[in-house]
Amino acid sequence: MNALSRFFARLEGPQTLGRGPGFWIGFLIVLAGACAYPLFSDGYTVGNTVYFFTWIFMALGLSLIWGYGGALSFGQTAFFGIAGYAYGILTINFGAAYGFTFIALLFAVAIAALFAALLGYFLFFGRISGVFLGIVTLSVTLVLERFMAQTAGPEWKIGAARLNGFNGMSNMPPLTVPWPGGDIVLFPDVQLYYVVLGMLVLVYLGLRILVNSPFGNVLVAIRENPERAEMLGYDIRKYQLGTFVIGAALAGLSGVLYTSWGQYITPSSMGMTAAALPIVWVAVGGRSDLTTTLVGTITVLAVFQALTIHGSQYALVVMGIMLVLTVLLAPRGLIYALARLIARPFSKRQPGDA
């Protein structure tokens, strides 16, 4: 087996649910359905679907940090917000010509990752773990929210970009593809849908390869028993930091896509409620697996959206109840439990296995 085929063989492995032709045929059917969906819908609805997709990157990143690495970060929205604002500041100042929006996307994600690297260095090399990691990351998020909330005055601007306090920053250009004969502006519509869907497939498959690689092996080893992992010769703090940065970059990607989708970002995207929601999506779906996280996030977001339309603030209460029920009834996640239930008749199991 050469290196390339070994690389692709890692699309399935012990760290991911779903293997064999059955799973991949199902994957292709779902993907084909997702590709065909705009044909049976209108641009407005498809544009709204993109809104759901933008959150999934952050959820997958949290699954990596928390579900695989065992470190609960309560601060993913900090990276979301940093990247969102960075995208706004960059594109408002430098415009959208020559595909600059995509360069701004990369820069914004890199800024979020750099911030995570700095924060993560002090967290992990300071040996902060468990609930304290959650407390510190949440605090950082709330500090950022408070800071951005007080930037209403005209003195708070970077170049042409006013930060605008609680009113939020707006009017940044959407992602724009340079094209001979006229740039393609990706407003929330079918074209943006395909771009984001493509990113989603790439990130999902890329993460599957990552978690089934030796890196992923060490990651779950740290979750299971950090002392043993270190005593096998692994510098566990480097692995934790690397994971934290990847997760933060994905949250940053969500932030950029959200900002360019709505041409709008506010400090409340980093607030207490916003910070708690990713944890609900990921926990309810099943944090220890990428696929259940993905399915769970879409499901919870759809439920949340439906509830918001009909009952506004009650939606948050329902989210809280869902989280409590998940923790009590299916601690590994509702979608995860469902997946195991469906797979049970098809898999041979050793007596005594959980």
């Binding site: 290196a3 012990p14 030796p214 092996n217 779950v220 028993n225 096998l232 692994y234």
Partner: protein
């Protein structure tokens, strides 16, 4: 050159002097057992050697290199390996994956699978390779962890009460395994309570008492030493030993 040397190793926790000027020397190729009553400082000395604690003063040499300030993973990479007292395994992962995590950086990917199969067979766990490690019997967990420790191909294997909770048969089998590894050239340092095991494997024995090296020698010398018998029976008080460290005859 000795495999491992501690020079005047001191560790204080507040006012408590847990290890007191410990000089310990392990020659390459020997099986060395560390014994002593509860609270003698065995575990602390073990953790100092591993780097989980840093000494208050003193030095640790490994293969002649000063490793006193190195982090645990750096010591492991220099050729140490450890088996903990409570089985340190990855419970929610399969037996096979436990070994893969230990071995993945020690073998090229092309032969990794075969090497894991070999080790599974050596550990008598082939039939259990897909089970979750947390569902193994206690003895099997101990063996799995020994397997993980050994798979790093260490120069020095550290065992913290390797037979804790094992039946006499399992203890004996573990002793045979240690002898076999030693015959392949591995130096072994074991903290052990079980004297049958110590008798079975030890070439050198160090007795710790109240944080100090109380006696050192071959197993026969230690067994014949009346002072050692006395501390195990609790007849020697802290006051007396403080005046007669040299009375513990160094062999």
């Amino acid at each position: 050159m000795p495999m491992l040397q501690t020079l005047g190793l001191n560790k204080r926790f507040g006012g408590l002097h847990v290890t007191n000027n410990v000089d310990l020397t392990l020659q390459a190729g020997e099986v060395h057992c560390l014994i002593g009553p509860n609270g003698a400082g065995k575990s602390t000395l073990f953790r100092l050697i591993l780097g989980e604690h840093l000494p208050s003063s003193g030095a640790i040499l490994f293969g002649g290199e000063d490793i006193t300030s190195l982090k645990p993973f750096q010591r492991i990479r220099r050729g140490m390996s450890v088996k903990f007292q409570v089985p340190g395994i990855f419970k929610a992962l399969s037996v096979r994956q436990n070994l893969e995590i230990a071995m993945q950086h020690h073998y090229p990917p092309a032969v990794l699978g075969e090497e894991i199969d070999k080790l599974l067979a050596f550990l008598n766990l082939t039939a259990d390779s897909t089970r979750l490690a947390g569902n193994l019997s206690h003895g099997q967990k101990q063996w799995l962890e020994i397997g993980m420790a050994v798979s790093l191909k260490p120069r020095l294997l550290l065992l913290d009460e390797p037979t804790a909770g094992m039946s006499p048969e399992e203890t004996h089998a573990t002793g045979e395994m240690v002898k076999r590894l030693n015959a392949q050239g591995m130096t072994v340092l074991a903290v052990e309570h079980d004297m049958a095991f110590v008798r079975q494997v030890a070439q050198q024995v160090t007795v710790l008492h109240l944080g100090k090296v109380f006696a050192q020698g071959s197993i026969d010398e230690i067994v014949a030493n009346e002072d050692v018998a006395a501390i195990y029976l609790g007849q020697t008080t802290a006051h007396e030993t403080a005046h007669e460290p040299a009375g513990g005859p160094h062999a």
